[in-house]
Symmetry: C2
């Protein structure tokens, strides 16, 4: 710890993924050194943070030594990933934080995991999650910036593990706001890609229309690096912040905003404006007001379908709120109406981009991470975008009155994820003016 | 075999699922007797039919004896199921008929399997399939009515196993026409439910927008019986064929029809009309002409996403046509346009029902099962309905010039599966005028 001075990364676990990958490629850092550093960080912090449900240090070190002997497999060679425990891995149990699947092993990687492994990634372990990412038990994970606060959810462990420098990269998922909200609360970067862009095979299903796999990191470069494994071609068209047309969208959920959320959004907008971006209020047309209700209808009705196996076979061990999904009384008409609202809004939103709009700027959460672990915060600023199937990127923006991180979300039209990442790369240095804050704050904590 | 006379079922494997379930419930038949009879049928036929990729008679008999000792678990107690080998089962390998997954075991049931097990079903084994239900290798399965002909695909083994009396019930899947077409070619009943009605968790993903799990049987009662395990509430509103408003839909694919397909459709329509149904031609409006192309665009683009793990990690063992999906050059605009066509047509189709239409009657396939195992036939009459997310039921209608079965499809609006099954139950005796044909023909074959 003495080696840290002026928040300059000198321990390997403090590196971003792109920094570590470059050092590994140049033989200036071994995979084993990186994993040892990550494991030491976990060791010193996880009694408090509790990000991990399963970690096997010996297995991870063995794998790191194997990777050190191999030629570079791909862009993620040797980079440690956390995997939300609703995502299958062949070598660890997948419990969904459910007593039904305590210790259950599947023996097959989820698609998202198999692909990063193929690119050289090292799966460090499984991170805690809200039960099935849907209800029931909360994760035991705590916010690394203040253990009395939630790290958000349902991707609680993955968000905290990346925020607290246990791993440079991790997988989360989003059905409502489970991926972007924890990114905001833990002061990290995260992308929830367009629906259908990335296979969700081997990821516990909650809602077929909504569930989306995303990833976390501590820089936009790292988001792009992981994207390359998914053949998300890098967008080389230059992006200038000067002249960038930004739609400031307070969204139909604006009533739920808190002062810290307003401050983050307006700070980000002002910084962009000061740098030459053209920031204008974007008010969505009336049908968009119905998206929140539609998302709720779909997540309930499709959740009923998804939890029927456990309802049938393990009723006593299924959480009451998940049983209630199976017993929902949503009518066919209501579900079809919800699908119709989404079907109608998606192309309208896509069509807003082009001549007068490059990117949407909108809140990632109402404000700072709430106090207590009985809640994971409010997904109201995320749910609409999930249903729209559009890509979202969280950018850390500032700190709130409790010195907890608050982020903002960039949104693009469907299936322009590479372009959105290119825009995020250009605007991140403008919005995230203190990128070393986490490094500084989390190493000086007791 | 001597016991068979006049095509009356006297061996347990000849029973429908509903018949067997009633006998088991009344202790007039044991689960073990039923499984022994099924295994004997497999033993005598499968060297030719080749429906099964994995069968463990000892395991199945053990499970049957366990079920005989238990109180009746549910409506499917003791009923043997075949499971298409892209669907996970905890006790057998799941190979997807791919060399990449030779002998691979997952250790967890797919949702559809877990639910029927909870209702007492017995999983007899895994049935052959087109590789990943998508391309590459064909199943080795042959049509039980003529071994020189295809049983259809990709649910080849499941269709043939039910048609040839190896099991009363089996799971298939449909992304294009993989479930309904084999039902037609094997002279059996099958339902492809509405998309999102039944969890597809644990079923190999090919296209998230299209993949749908269905089941096969030899009667409508059996389709309803399995549906009850999925909480598909039975529709008690009486259905009279007299006055039933049937839309005879030749569909935008009509150019592909063969004489046997025309005969099946017109025979079914005539029988319905003669029984008092009001059969009128239904011509779909112009946008529906674009559904076939849209389905092709979606299956290719989403297939590229689904096969990226194997492309990344097992390129040499991935079939060239599946590699080509990953390398597809479908643009964002083309994929979004395909989604838009489907989004626009779905509510239009749903809206046709009600005041002047109760059910659509349409071909299940161009005609009889084609000669040879190099093809599984043409899915052109199924693909549009799969993309529309509507429920489809195959009803055997007649024999073609080669004495091979030809079916017709009943279609209802989205999420009216229980109603469609009730209609199917009423019209099946009218359309399927020789329900014992399979029993008679397949037992007198050499």
């Amino acid at each position: 710890m003495d080696a840290i001075s002026g928040a300059i990364a000198t321990e390997p676990c403090q590196l971003t993924a792109a920094e570590a990958a470059a050092l590994i490629r140049n033989k200036e850092l071994s995979c084993e050194e990186l994993v040892r550093s990550c494991l030491a960080r976990v060791d010193s912090r996880d009694a408090d943070v509790r990000a991990w449900l399963w970690l096997d240090p010996d297995h991870a070190l063995r794998r790191a030594r194997e990777l050190d002997k191999l030629p570079v497999k791909g862009p993620l060679h040797g980079l440690p990933f956390g995997v939300k425990d609703i995502i299958d891995t062949f070598d660890y149990p997948t419990t969904h934080n459910s007593p039904i699947y305590d210790g259950a092993r599947v023996g097959r990687d989820a698609a998202c995991v198999a692909i990063v492994r193929g690119a050289g990634a090292l799966i460090l372990g499984k991170t805690d999650t809200v039960e099935f990412a849907s209800g029931g038990r909360k994760a035991l994970t705590r916010n690394p910036y203040n253990f009395a606060h939630t790290p958000g959810g349902s991707s609680s462990g993955s968000g905290a593990a990346v925020g607290d420098f246990h791993v440079p990269l991790a997988f989360g998922t989003q059905t409502g706001g489970s991926h972007i909200r924890p990114a905001s609360f833990n002061g990290i970067y995260g992308i929830k890609p367009s629906w259908s862009l990335l296979s969700r095979e081997g990821v516990r299903m909650s809602s077929i229309t909504l569930d989306t796999v995303g990833w976390y990191s501590r820089s936009v470069d790292d988001l792009i690096l992981v994207g390359s494994a998914y053949r998300l071609a890098e967008d080389d068209t230059p992006v200038a912040v000067k002249g960038l047309r930004v739609g400031l969208c307070r969204s139909p959920a604006w009533d739920a905003i808190e002062p810290a959320g307003t401050a983050a959004l307006e700070t980000a907008a002002k910084r962009l404006g000061d740098t030459g971006a053209i920031v204008e209020e974007l008010v969505l047309p009336a049908p968009f007001d119905r998206l929140l209700e539609a998302q709720n209808t779909i997540v309930t009705a499709e959740g009923g379908v998804s939890f029927l196996p456990e309802y049938t076979n393990a009723f006593a061990l299924l959480a009451p709120d998940l049983r209630a999904k199976v017993e929902n009384e949503i009518t066919r008409e209501a579900l079809l109406a919800a699908y119709a609202v989404a079907d109608a809004c998606r192309p309208v939103f896509d069509g807003m981009f082009g001549t007068s709009l490059d990117v949407v700027l909108t809140p990632s959460a109402p404000g700072e991470a709430p106090l207590g672990l009985h809640t994971t915060g409010n997904a109201i600023f995320n749910r609409m975008w999930t249903l729209l199937h559009v890509p979202c990127v969280n950018i850390p923006a500032c700190r709130g009155p409790l010195n907890l991180p608050v982020g903002v979300t960039l949104v693009g039209p469907r299936l322009t994820d590479a372009r959105l990442l290119a825009i995020a790369k250009a605007v991140a240095p403008v919005i995230d003016t203190d990128p070393k804050a986490g490094l500084r704050d989390l190493w000086t904590l007791p």
